[in-house]
Symmetry: C2
Subunit: 515 residues, 2 copies
Amino acid sequence: MNGAHALLRTLVANGVDTCFTNPGTSEMHFVAALDDVPEMRPILALFEGVATGAADGYGRMAGRPAATLLHLGPGLGNGLANLHNARRARTPIVNIVGDHATYHQALDAPLASDIVGVARNVSRWIRESKGPETVGADAAEAISEARRGGVATLILPADASWSEGAQPGPEAIAHVGFISFADEVELAVKALRSGEPTALLLGGKALTERGLLAASRVAQATGAKLLCETFPARLVRGAGLPAVERLGYLAEFAVAQLQGLRNLVLVDAKEPVSFFAYPNLPSELAPEGCEIRDLVADGVLAEAALEALADALGAPADGAVRTPAARPDRPSGALNPETIANAIGALLPEGAIVSDEANTAGLFVSGATAGAPRHDWLTLTGGAIGQGMPVATGAAVACPDRKVLNLQADGSAMYTIQSLWTQARENLDVTTIIFDNRSYAILSLELSRVGARTDGNAADLFDISRPPLDFVSLARGMGVDGTRAETADELVRALEHALSEPGPHLIDAILPARL
Amino acid sequence: MNGAHALLRTLVANGVDTCFTNPGTSEMHFVAALDDVPEMRPILALFEGVATGAADGYGRMAGRPAATLLHLGPGLGNGLANLHNARRARTPIVNIVGDHATYHQALDAPLASDIVGVARNVSRWIRESKGPETVGADAAEAISEARRGGVATLILPADASWSEGAQPGPEAIAHVGFISFADEVELAVKALRSGEPTALLLGGKALTERGLLAASRVAQATGAKLLCETFPARLVRGAGLPAVERLGYLAEFAVAQLQGLRNLVLVDAKEPVSFFAYPNLPSELAPEGCEIRDLVADGVLAEAALEALADALGAPADGAVRTPAARPDRPSGALNPETIANAIGALLPEGAIVSDEANTAGLFVSGATAGAPRHDWLTLTGGAIGQGMPVATGAAVACPDRKVLNLQADGSAMYTIQSLWTQARENLDVTTIIFDNRSYAILSLELSRVGARTDGNAADLFDISRPPLDFVSLARGMGVDGTRAETADELVRALEHALSEPGPHLIDAILPARL
């Protein structure tokens, strides 16, 4: 058995049966071995950023890792931005990077580069397989590490792949948290009963139904505020679930949300910091004197710790507040950020997965879908734009029976627009709505904040209307049906149609410029 | 004066007056400062791989660096593959990467990452500006280092950019080589006069008109073979210039070209190694016992050293062999790799710049253009595909009075297809011919070489016909006129039209599958 076979056997034996890839010559023996391991489903992307982002979306929804297969340092580089996002989402991914044969590396052939140096940036674990003997065990360890939450990078030299003498690795270890949280619960109870303004800040694995119900019990029993990190990896929401307020993206908004707090209890969340630094604004957002403590830092225990906290407070078991079902009416008339949000709120299907990279233009969608049927919300976790379309792609692979809705800003769409082709090739049930305002609107806003002119060379860099992008043509070019919607009525009609049949669709929703 | 102003002033004072960019919030003060430094031309790309590849194309043709402006680690990651190619091409680039404010970095905000670790991979020099006081001097040093040939990365924290107290840096140092090559010339003369089979392998700066004329004199005087590295950064060729045989991409071909050689003289070129390793094939390509020596390793001296060598050998000053003018007839009938090559050979304009990423399907183009009017040939230097379209974009910015022809494989095109939008926005004179064979043909070939089936899961990964890519729609989606050519006659017509008017054009040349 060669190394490639042992690797594939180890992956599929441990439930890693999906591989998002754009391979090359150094990965050829892995590719050839796919014919003998039909349990592995290879999914081709035309660009590595699609492959890594899809692995992120898959991992967030499947709760187990997909593999990638990337072509040396440049392939890793192309996939790096979405691995960065996956790292921030703590998504399990087995990130396989092919390399030159071990004896070829010292020759500095054109594609040679320092893969470890680049991978370190996004990986919780890195291993270079030294030969066929270790590939199986290395793969099992990579899977164990990925399950702890994050990117495990396995570098696979071509000769470790093609040489005989390999064997499948052992069963990978499931990740289980063992840390007691009794002390943390006691301290949190004290804070919550102090009579001082207190909030829970939920993140990561606290944002499940179980976590949210327990957190809502705590809030009801104590009057504490419920907050959620700005960019959750996966947030379940909608009718029947407790609502949670997301911390604002702009530092001024987040500061206002946190104002007056004396205690902040973190539940699988990080201390709130400003997304960017600004002259004369604080980087740390909690008010001075606010005591910040972790209830639990390891996501696996988040739900249990919240339930223990609710019980310790004597909160009734049915004390959670569940959002009532409510939808906006189907909008009519002009298309703008409000009517686009209402169209989505009116039509969002039960069990939908929303991949949200709508940025500024999507400001109203959250409110308009708060009472929609239960759905999952996936956001841009690491700030590296170009994540929404790949994540939607991977989520659709993980959940073939659910509708995926990708809310996609136009500027960000162009980073990984190649996602559409994979959606067509795999006939994935993804509907993409382009929030087409022909600008990097968030950057126009930031430019005005630094006091620059709105009509100079600088402002021109955030105007992407010249030439206008025609997303219907772009979709057609990659085999996806596209529709242009210039009014709210057209959007409603196009969205109803897209949701009524399987397979990928794109709707180019034409908004007023710079909104 | 704030750091951003000082940086821009230092750049333009040293002739770095073009900046390929996709900026974000951390770069906002640099962007705002553009309004006050109109000598700097900012060129927007929708994706950082376009910006870095365009800087490469610009640097190869202008002979001086452009700047980039990238958005933190993820922006650098997106641009990394084409910086890898630029590193291999030794193209001068001042690579500016914005970062969080220095005091914000420790907070691990979502976009924080190890920029230095990633930049190291592609940079000959890296500096993080510590504050506004050093930005100007740091920029001058970056320019000096870039001029030595390669990527100089300047990391610019947001507070170094926005803070006052900066001043422009000193004049950047021009790169001059001082190393004597007298001994090397003497040894090369000895090899060339040994009577043993000897070849010159030319690369880098030896591939200019002056370098090629001197090398041809040497070859004529001694019977030495003239070879050129497989993937030159810039090769001048065509009627009136000496021809040089490029070393083959596949190891078997290169081995055959080098067979029997007893001496190999490197002129700004590296010892030939196989692009990839293969089981049972050598990685080092020169035959055993062949003596390999550098005539000159520093590109700046390549032309002078070749001339000194020719003189030392007593080669007549007019002894170079110049390729006679010759063009194929305009082809007719079916479109295939031969007829597409003949169409290009028949129509290539005087002074054209060819950005060649046609890969397997472009096999015949080199022969068909050998006697075409003088032109420059830019190739994929580092093996990271997705370089042809950005390099064409940057070359057109550097040389607005020349026609740029981008020979582009379909699979590779999809990595950085966003280049078309920048070509439209800047009205660049680039004609792209898509070699549309609906496959990663080179990988299909490699797969057959490892003995895999041609109809399984493996082979399917190299078939990109499902769905077919429609490049005319893709071009239209980004504001570029596109034409589909299914016959040689249609291609000739479309190419004549595209070359007859300025601005970007795309021709989707439909070839038989997998050729």
